[in-house]
Symmetry: C2
Subunit: 170 residues, 2 copies
DNA sequence: TGAGATATGTCAACAACACTGACTTATATC
DNA sequence: GATATAAGTCAGTGTTGTTGACATATCTCA
């Protein structure tokens, strides 16, 4: 083999590291905004999913975030007390608590989404550097790549969740 | 606009979420191995970078990880005491502590890298689903995409760091 | 050589966010 | 009415991050 590819798995090894750096900066953007509100990443995640999937139940949220109900409750309580998220009793099952963003919650969620979407859009659009090319289908490729990174057993659940959103668009 | 793209930024919005799920599973793999050793993610990150860049100094490591020296020291101490990482006094500057993996450290790092590289390799190779295609240059595209996700000011530093590794390959 | 900068190590306190285990309340289901 | 389920809560713990203060060894430069 040539000098370039001497070490096995070099390509993937580089990606491991790039994923670390990329994710670090990706969550760094919202961190600055959240700090102004006294919130952390845990609050962000809750706000994000409630904003995108209004009417989410506690159980569904726990399944998405993969944390315990005690951990969720701590941050959810903050968000509710400060008026960013509202609870409504389920209609078909009155044991459930359906979660919704208030106007303020939706606004904050939009701010957070904006900075992250901006970084992503730039990353997909920029020619980056000499020799690097991201074809017009970059967004589709990225979508496909990230989906494949998800544990196979759980891809269906993620697809199902995300399909909820696309529906109401027509 | 059509029914598909009603909401502005839908593509990027989906990617935000997929990045969350993908990263969750990506770090989940090593977590299971680390737990057997009583280590956490912080230990993983230190071990990873010391393994890949032997002779790294404390200051360099702090710059990469973006944590305080107190935080680093806690986990670094564990790794040194348990024989996974070794320190050597710098030659040109005797104040510096150059970090190296022991045999055991390199073995553990290799185990951790293996599971993550496997997931990445699969994600780049798999046709994922009907309609989705990842061209042969998938690895290059992913590399380019992730690099573009990094804060522009810091890309040079990341490139410089990663260039260290490629050198010795010939 | 001596003053000051730099690299590292360490002590103490604290905060965010995760965990386990145990228990309660309200509601649904059979 | 017995049992299961959805959610809320109390108490304790662990990891990983933070600040602030200070110690030690070594380098650099006037």
């Amino acid at each position: 083999m040539g000098a370039q590819a001497d070490r096995a798995g070099t390509a993937s090894d580089d990606l491991i590291e790039l994923l670390f750096f990329a994710y670090r900066d990706f969550v760094g953007d919202p961190d600055r905004i959240l700090a102004e509100y006294g919130f952390g990443r845990a609050h962000h995640r809750v706000l994000h999913f409630v904003d995108r999937y209004p009417g989410l139940t506690i159980a569904e949220l726990l399944d998405i975030l993969r944390i315990t109900k005690q951990s969720l409750n701590r941050v959810l309580k903050d968000l509710i007390e400060q008026g960013y998220i509202e609870q409504k009793t389920g209609t078909s099952d009155r044991r459930q608590r359906l979660l919704f963003c208030s106007r303020a919650g939706a606004d904050l969620a939009a701010d957070l989404t904006r900075v992250q979407a901006r970084r992503l859009a730039r990353a997909l659009a920029d020619p980056v550097e000499a020799g690097e090319t991201l074809p017009s289908g970059a967004s589709t490729s990225a979508h496909s790549f990230l989906l494949s990174m998800i544990e196979p057993d759980e891809r269906a659940a993620v697809r199902r969740l995300m399909a909820r959103r696309t529906k109401g668009a027509a």
